[in-house]
């Protein structure tokens, strides 16, 4: 494996990690919003 291959692997891993973190944060916010909404609707 060349140095440029390794750099490309690291770049892709970093990009995927950032996107996964953003998606997980968005999921947490969504589940929170759904929970609050369902509680307010049923209340």
């Amino acid at each position: 494996m060349t140095g440029s291959d390794e750099r490309e692997i690291r770049r892709r891993q970093k990009a995927r990690a950032i996107i996964l973190a953003v998606l997980l944060a968005a999921f947490v916010v969504l589940v929170y919003a759904i929970t609050i909404t369902k509680m307010s609707v049923s209340g």
Partner: protein
């Protein structure tokens, strides 16, 4: 030649061996996004949104957003699983050869895991956020697209998109069910409309990309029955499609705004289908009416569903 092999198997076997080798690099997120066919998803999301907006009764905006998100994720999941299964034939068609799997930018296992994971996630989230009927219809639509259309029908029969088209017709039903928790006549008519719209839409496309389908061994109607028979079938399906489009107004389920739009748009569709029928060309370059019908069919569905929402909200 082994008679049990289907048409086109020889060509597929040649490419499958290379496609099964995973790529050395980890998948780029853009390739995972491309697996979901975002452009196709827009029409699915729009019809689902319209089903949701015309349904009687209130739905909280957060739950409405979640329902639409789930429809989009479910459609993306089905598209990813479709590309996982069809990587071999995608590699043989110019139109699809640059997709992540045939181009070798992504390995099949990643695509399979991504598609299955997204399917479960979208269905479970839909069930938790709205109701389990909407989740069940979403699950059926994904399973129908993957197992009935992609795996069973597409490589076996020229009727593939006639029956398989049902998979793309579910979104308005899902949107409606997310609000009401049940299914009524209007969403069933919208289902019928998309179901009958799918064959003329795809056959218009398959007429001018016929050589692609032939090269991949996909038995689309123009490949198996010829251009003339396909043009006749396009017209024959346009007639019940137009009837399904006007039916909500005729049955008193939609107002005059929708009725006028449905009549005008369906007449325009019919006129283009007649122009396609009159065309005798066999070369894609001379297939302007077919290209016009394909482009208009997309506008037709957007405009029809948009008119239904406007009509309901006026």
């Amino acid at each position: 030649m082994d008679p049990s092999r289907r048409w086109g198997d020889e060509k597929r076997i040649m490419t499958t061996t290379t496609l099964d080798h995973p790529t050395a690099l980890p998948a780029d997120w853009r390739d995972l996004l491309a697996l979901t066919k975002p452009r196709v998803m827009t029409l699915v999301v729009f019809t689902g949104l319209c089903g949701l907006l015309v349904a009687p009764g209130p739905i909280h905006p957060v739950l409405a957003f979640t329902a639409i998100l789930c429809i989009a994720l479910g459609a993306g999941a089905a598209a990813a699983l479709n590309q996982w299964y069809e990587a071999d034939i995608d590699a043989l068609m110019k139109r699809t050869a640059a997709r992540p799997l045939p181009a070798g930018r992504l390995d099949r296992q990643t695509a399979l895991h991504f598609g299955v994971g997204l399917s479960f996630f979208s269905v479970l989230l839909m069930g938790v956020a709205t109701n389990w009927l909407a989740a069940a219809i979403l699950a059926v639509s994904i399973l129908f697209y993957v197992f009935i259309y992609t795996i069973w029908l597409k490589r076996r029969t020229p009727q593939n998109i006639v029956i398989g088209g049902a998979a793309g017709a579910f979104p308005p039903l899902i949107g409606w069910a997310a609000v009401t928790g049940d299914v009524a006549t209007l969403p069933l008519l919208l289902f019928a409309l998309i179901f009958l719209w799918t064959p003329p839409h795809f056959w218009a496309l398959s007429l001018f990309v016929r050589s692609d389908y032939a090269a991949a061994g996909v038995p689309m109607l123009p490949v198996v029955a010829g251009a003339r028979a396909t043009r006749i079938q396009i017209l024959l399906y346009t007639l019940p499609m137009a009837a399904a489009a006007v039916a909500p107004w005729a049955l008193g389920l939609a107002g005059p705004v929708y009725g006028l739009a449905a009549a005008a748009l369906s007449l325009a569709f019919l006129a283009l289908a007649l122009r396609v029928l009159a065309n005798r060309a066999t070369e894609p370059k001379a297939m302007k009416p077919e290209k016009q019908l394909f482009a208009f069919s997309i506008v037709y569905l957007f405009a029809l569903f948009g008119a239904l929402v406007i009509d309901r909200w006026l």
